[in-house]
Subunit: 289 residues, 2 copies
C-alpha cells in the first residue's frame, strides 16, 4: 500500500521503518541559514513542525517529550535556580522549566532564531512563557555558549538537540559534556535527549559513558513513549555531579502546583526503571530474528 502526497513521511532508513502523518495543508516553509523549516496542519496530530524533513514535534504528543526533558531533572536538583536549555528553539522545554516557581533565570541558546519565530506564530501554546521576565532567549551557538559560561553558572543544563548527525553530533561528544560539567554547580545536573532505546540502545550506553568520562559522578536514563519519534519510544539521560543517582524531591513532585499531562512523581520513578535488555548492558534486545 502506498500513501499519497498528502502524507508527510519520515523514513528511518537504517531501521527499515517509517512513520507518516496525514496532512491537510502546509502552513509554512522556509530555508533558514541553518535548515529547512516546515509547518503542516495534520488531520489527527494537530500541527507538525519539521526540520530538514524530520519530525521535531506535533501538537498532539510533544507534551510527553517536553515534560520528561525538564521535570525529572529539575526535581532531581535540591533547588534549581539557574537553568540553561541548549537547542529547544520551539520553546516547549522553556515553558515547562518556567512552571517551577524556584527558577530565577532560564537561558535558552539555539542557533536558529527562525525556529523560535516560526513557533511563536504556529505553536503559541509552546511559547506562552517567552515573555516571562525570567526567560532569556539567545540565538547563539550552544557549544560556544556553554564554553563561555562561568564555572558553576547553572544548576541544570538541558540539551534539547536534534539527532546526532551533522552539526548536532558535537552535542553528543565527551568534550561538550565536559564543558557542561564545568558550567554546572557542584550539585548540577545535565540532561540530554538520548534517542530510542529500541533503535539506539548502544548510543544510550555510550552517552552515559561519555558523561562519566567528562567527570560526572553518576548517570541515569529515563524511558518514555513518544509516538512521533523513531520507534515511538524515547529516552533522556541525566548526569549528576554529586552522584545522588535516582534521588529526587519526590514529595515536591507529588505536591507540584502546576499542571502536567504525562509527568507525575510516580512516572518519574517508573521512567527510571531499566528494561531488562538495557539493565543487562546489552544496548539492544537482540539481533532481529
Amino acid at each position: 500500500m502506498t500513501l499519497d502526497d498528502s502524507w508527510f513521511t519520515e523514513i528511518y532508513d537504517e531501521q527499515g521503518a517509517a512513520f507518516s502523518l496525514s496532512t491537510t495543508s502546509r502552513l509554512h516553509e522556509e530555508r533558514s541559514t541553518y535548515q529547512h523549516i516546515e509547518v503542516f496542519e495534520t488531520r489527527g496530530f494537530g500541527r507538525l513542525l519539521t526540520l530538514d524533513g524530520m519530525v521535531m514535534l506535533t501538537g498532539r504528543d510533544n507534551f510527553i517529550y517536553h515534560e520528561m526533558m525538564t521535570h525529572p531533572a529539575l526535581f532531581s536538583h535540591a533547588a534549581p535556580k539557574k537553568v540553561l536549555i541548549i537547542g529547544g528553539g520551539d520553546c516547549g522545554c522553556l515553558l515547562e522549566v518556567l512552571k517551577h516557581p524556584g527558577v530565577e533565570r532560564a537561558d535558552l541558546a539555539d542557533i536558529d532564531e527562525r525556529v523560535t519565530r516560526v513557533c511563536e506564530q504556529y505553536f503559541p501554546e509552546l511559547c506562552a512563557s517567552n515573555d516571562d521576565p525570567r526567560a532569556f532567549l539567545n540565538f547563539a551557538d550552544g557549544i560556544k555558549w556553554v564554553e563561555d559560561a562561568p564555572g558553576g553558572a547553572y544548576d541544570v543544563i538541558i540539551i534539547d538537540s536534534t539527532d546526532p548527525v551533522g552539526q548536532a553530533a558535537r552535542l553528543f561528544a565527551q568534550e561538550f559534556y565536559a564543558a557542561c560539567f564545568h558550567a554546572l554547580g557542584a550539585d548540577g545536573i545535565l540532561v540530554v535527549q538520548s534517542e530510542s532505546p529500541l533503535f539506539h540502545g548502544e548510543l544510550i550506553h555510550a552517552i552515559a559513558g561519555r558523561m562519566r568520562g567528562a567527570g560526572f559522578a553518576s548517570t541515569e536514563s529515563l524511558y518514555y513513549p513518544q509516538c512521533s519519534y523513531p520507534s515511538g519510544w524515547w529516552s533522556a539521560t541525566m548526569a549528576r555531579r554529586d552522584g545522588r543517582r535516582h534521588w529526587f524531591r519526590e514529595s515536591d513532585a507529588g505536591a507540584k502546583r502546576f499542571a502536567t499531562r504525562y509527568y507525575n512523581a510516580g512516572i518519574h520513578r517508573a521512567a527510571l526503571t531499566e528494561p531488562e535488555f538495557m539493565a543487562q548492558g546489552a544496548g539492544r534486545p537482540d539481533a532481529p530474528r
Copy 2:
C-alpha cells in the same frame, strides 16, 4: 515523500497516522477461513506477520508485548497452575507462560489453526514450547471455550486478541468478561490487550469499567512501548477477583529463573504507573492543538 511498493504500510486512518516497514520479500500469503494471513521478510524488523493487512507481530519487537501480556499477570497470582490464552495463535504468549515452572496446564483457544501452522513455519522461536506436555492447542471459538469452561477452571486468563473491530469486538464486551469471571478461581486474574494509551485511552477506561461491571473487584493497567503497534505505546489491563490491586510476587519476579528481554520486577512496578492524563481519568491527553 512516498514509499514504494516494497514497503508494507498500516494506516491508522482514524488517527491520520501510518507505520511502514521495508520488506525484502513476501514469504507467505493465504486466505484462511477467517482472515488474510501474510508473512514478510523485512529489512530491519526480522519477519513480519500480518492479518487482514494489520501488523500482528515482528521478530524484532514482539518480545515486549508477549512478556507484558503474561508475566505481570502470572506474578500477580499467588500460584498460577492453570492458564487459558484466548487468541494468541502465534504462540508467543504460550511460550512465555510456560516459562513459569509452576504452570501445570496452558490451554490456547484460537479460532484459526492456520495462524499457528504458519507461525510454526516462519516464527519457530515463538512456537518452541508448542510440544511442551503442558501445552494444549485448541482451534476453537474463544468465547464458546470460556462459556463452556467449568466454574473456577483457570487461575489466569489472557486475552491476546486483535483490535476491537469485527468478530474481535465480542472479546471486549462485558458479557465476555463475565464469562471469564466465572471460569476463574476465587483469586483468578484476567488480562487483556487494551490498545494504545495515546489513541484509545477512553477505551482503556471503558474496558476497566466493564471488567468491574462483570464482577471483578479491581483493575489495573500496564503501559509499555510497542514500536510496531499504533502510536508505539500499548497497554494491557488486568482484572482481579480478589481485589489485591497492584500486589504481585515481587521477590519471585526478581528471582525468576528464566530469561526475559523487557520484563523484570522493576518494570512490572513501573508499568503499573499511570501517566497523569490517565490518572486524572481523562482518557485522552488533550484535544489535538
